[in-house]
């Protein structure tokens, strides 16, 4: 069995995380911001899995399950918020929703 070097796995995880982060920062549509957040979650999850396989322990995979559960909760709350915002403002543009300006 060919083993993938740890550095490759971590590099992929970092790339996924940064791609997601960039998505969060540049997209204006709230739904896409939520999607990008999911990508960041998976980047972090991948890092856990790679680290778990490096030390031959199951902790990494357990953490990934935690992450899945948390992501599901986050998405349910986030989507509910999106629905609510759309209902009030009839827009999904994150920049237009700036009532909290100080």
């Amino acid at each position: 069995m060919v083993t993938i070097p740890v550095s490759h796995g971590l590099l992929l995880a970092g790339l996924l995380f940064i791609l997601g982060l960039l998505g969060v920062m540049v997209r204006r549509n709230i739904v896409f911001i939520l999607l990008s957040l999911e990508v960041m979650f998976n980047g972090a999850g991948l890092a856990f899995v790679v680290a778990g396989s490096r030390w031959g322990q199951a902790d990494g995979q357990i953490m990934f399950m935690f992450l899945l559960a948390m992501a599901a909760a986050e998405v349910s709350v986030g989507l509910a918020l999106v629905f609510h915002l759309y209902h009030r403002g009839h827009t999904l543009d994150a920049d237009a929703i700036s009532k909290m300006k100080g």
């Binding site: 982060l21 969060v24 920062m25 540049v26 911001i33 994150a94 920049d95 700036s98 300006k101 100080g102």
Partner: protein
């Protein structure tokens, strides 16, 4: 005796009733409370006096503790003060004068103020005034005395500015308050020094300890005596703090009568008499008091000569007569000063009430040159006013003013601390007094009628005039010099309080010469006024027409220009600095702090732009920075 506390408490209760429930009372009820409280207090003071004389051996005092006022302190410095009334013969004289003259003035005010909107307010203030003065003279410790002292100052402010809708009256009231405050500050410092060095404010203890601890003529008693004299000078309107009194005429006339006769200006004389032990320890301070008194009585006498307003003449005459009391205090003639205080209270109250009756009848006219001929129009007012004027001018033998003033003139020469200079000033002052007094009488009551009389005084204005006139004639008979019969009831009564005056040896035999001289001066003065005003007014015109006459006329009319002087020295520089510092310099530091805070706030609030993506960017940047720190360091 046990009802002593009621004497100040009744007017105070009257004040409380009138000020709290006054708007619900009808006018007769207000008069009943206002006059009745002081009247009852006068009755009780008479009763207390009878009891005092009845049971008193010499040096008898009565002291009544009501409650503990202040009780603080550690082992080192203890301050225990109680509200304690102390009645000795000096206090007896004072409460009699205050309550009785005060009562008569209240009675008079019922009619004088009858049509005023502030009727209830007037009586509330008047009652408080009398209460404060009674607390002042009955106080056993200096702090309680100071409470009464400041209460008197407050009431004078309230009453001088009684008709507050005219800004000039408010100005006069503020002036009286601020000018007397200069003296009060000196007095407060004096009290601090007394407490610091003698550990007590109990007047009798202070006197005893001061006599033990401080050698005569040393610096400490001199400082304290001068500071207390400063307070007295302010309250009693002596040089250099006399400027407030002529302006205090802005108040209603009964107020002037109360301020000038029964309360306020006599407080300074009382203070010095009460603390006379400190003054005997400081001969220099006594000389200063005598010099102030002599200078003031001359200064005010000259100013009184040229005034046009009848109330201002009386105001200057008060300053002048209180100057006599100061002169007497300064030469150690303590009981003579208190004697003059009492007789002055009677005839000055009489003169003010008489002047008030005149002003009232002429519809508020105060200019003497527009009065005249009132002798036939108001015979009773004329008769009583003439008695008051004769008493003020010290008409020999029959008036109270003669016996008291002559005693001062004589003792200012014969006392060990006296001298020819003081005697000359006192005699010249007596001559001036005659001139301005009878000038006022002639201008007001003689000659042709110039302003028609609109209405005549009623019964409640006449009763006080008659009673005070009787007192102005007879009050002097309690103290008659040896040459005229030798009655010494008054000075014997005060014997327990004051030390004997030291008469220079050998002068007793020639006392009658002094009495003859002052009697002649009075009669000559009356003749001179008759000549200048009645017989040949041309002479007056010639005198005031000459260059020197016109100059002095202007100078004296303005009271020697003290107002202008103080305006230059104090008021204008103060206003100048006030304008300079309109934006408070010290405040700018705190303003700067506030500005920095505000700038920081607006900078920080820039980051709160409501853009979710910017927040995300901020979080990312922060995370990168943290990771970079961990990696690099």
């Amino acid at each position: 005796m046990d009802f002593l506390w009621l004497i100040p408490a009744l007017p105070l209760a009257g004040f409380l009733i009138l000020s709290l429930a006054g708007s619900r009372l009808t006018r007769p009820m207000v008069s009943a409370v206002g006059v009745g409280s002081v009247g009852l207090s006068a009755m009780i003071s008479l009763w207390v006096t009878a009891a005092f004389i009845d049971q008193s051996p010499v040096r008898h005092v009565f002291s009544q503790t009501l409650w503990t006022w202040i009780d603080v302190g550690l082992d080192v410095a203890q301050l225990h003060l109680s509200v304690n009334f102390y009645l000795d013969s000096l206090a007896v004289v004072m409460i009699l004068v205050i309550t009785w003259v005060g009562f008569l003035i209240h009675l008079y005010s019922v009619e004088y103020m009858a049509h005023d909107d502030g009727y209830c307010r007037f009586f509330a203030y008047m009652n408080l005034f009398v209460a404060a003065m009674l607390i002042l003279v009955l106080a056993d410790n200096l702090l309680l005395l100071y409470l009464g002292w400041e209460g008197v100052g407050l009431c004078s402010y309230l009453l001088i500015g009684f008709w507050y809708k005219d800004p000039a009256n408010g100005y006069a009231a503020r002036k009286a308050f601020v000018v007397t405050r200069v003296g009060d500050t000196a007095m407060a410092i004096g009290l601090f020094i007394i407490y610091q060095h003698l550990d007590t404010l109990q007047i009798q203890t202070v006197m005893a300890r001061a006599a033990e601890a401080w050698p005569a003529g040393s610096a400490l008693p001199l400082t304290v005596a001068l500071l207390l004299a400063g307070g007295a000078v302010g309250k009693s309107a002596q040089l250099p703090l006399q400027t407030w009194l002529p302006d205090a005429m802005a108040g209603p006339t009964p107020v002037s009568a109360l301020i000038h006769a029964a309360t306020m200006v006599t407080a300074g004389v009382y203070l010095i008499a009460r603390t006379h032990v400190l003054f005997t320890l400081a001969p220099l301070a006594m000389t200063a008091v005598a010099v102030i008194g002599a200078a003031t009585l001359l200064m005010a006498g000259f100013s009184g000569l040229v005034q046009k307003d009848i109330k201002r003449v009386l105001a200057y005459s008060t300053i002048s007569q209180v100057g006599y009391m100061f002169l007497a205090l300064g030469v150690g003639a303590w009981s003579a000063a208190v004697f003059h205080l009492a007789t002055h209270a009677f005839f000055k109250a009489l003169l003010f009430l008489g002047a008030g009756a005149v002003i009232h009848s002429l519809n508020g006219e105060q200019n003497m040159f527009k009065m005249g001929g009132l002798r036939r129009e108001m015979p009773l007012v004329f008769a009583t006013f003439l008695i008051g004027a004769a008493s003020l001018a010290a008409l020999p033998l029959v008036t109270a003013g003669f016996y008291s003033k002559d005693l001062i003139i004589w003792e200012s020469f014969a006392s060990a601390q006296g001298g020819a200079g003081f005697y000359a000033a006192a005699l010249a002052g007596a001559f001036l007094t005659v001139l301005y007094t009878f000038r006022m009488v002639f201008l007001t009551f003689a000659g042709p009628i110039k302003t028609p009389v609109t209405h005549r005084p009623g019964i409640s204005m006449k009763i006080p005039l008659v009673i005070l006139a009787v007192l102005s004639l007879t009050a002097g008979f309690v103290e008659i010099p040896k040459t005229l019969g030798g009655v010494h009831l008054f000075s014997h009564f005060l014997n327990g309080v004051f030390p004997e005056i030291h008469i220079t040896h050998g002068l007793e035999q020639i006392e009658w010469i002094f009495e003859l001289v002052s009697g002649c001066v009075t009669l000559f003065g009356i003749f001179l006024v008759y000549l200048f005003i009645q017989r040949a007014p041309v002479l007056t015109e010639k005198l005031s027409g000459s260059a020197a006459g016109a100059f002095f006329n202007r100078l004296w009319l303005k009271g020697w220009g003290f107002d202008a002087l103080y305006d230059r020295i104090f008021v204008r520089p103060y206003l100048f600095f006030g304008r300079l510092n309109r934006e408070d310099i010290i405040d700018s530091f705190y303003d700067g702090l506030a500005a920095v805070g505000r700038a920081g706030y607006s900078a920080a609030s820039l980051t709160q732009n409501g853009q979710v993506r910017t927040y995300a960017f901020g979080i990312a940047l922060g995370a990168v920075a943290l990771i970079a720190m961990v990696v690099i360091l």
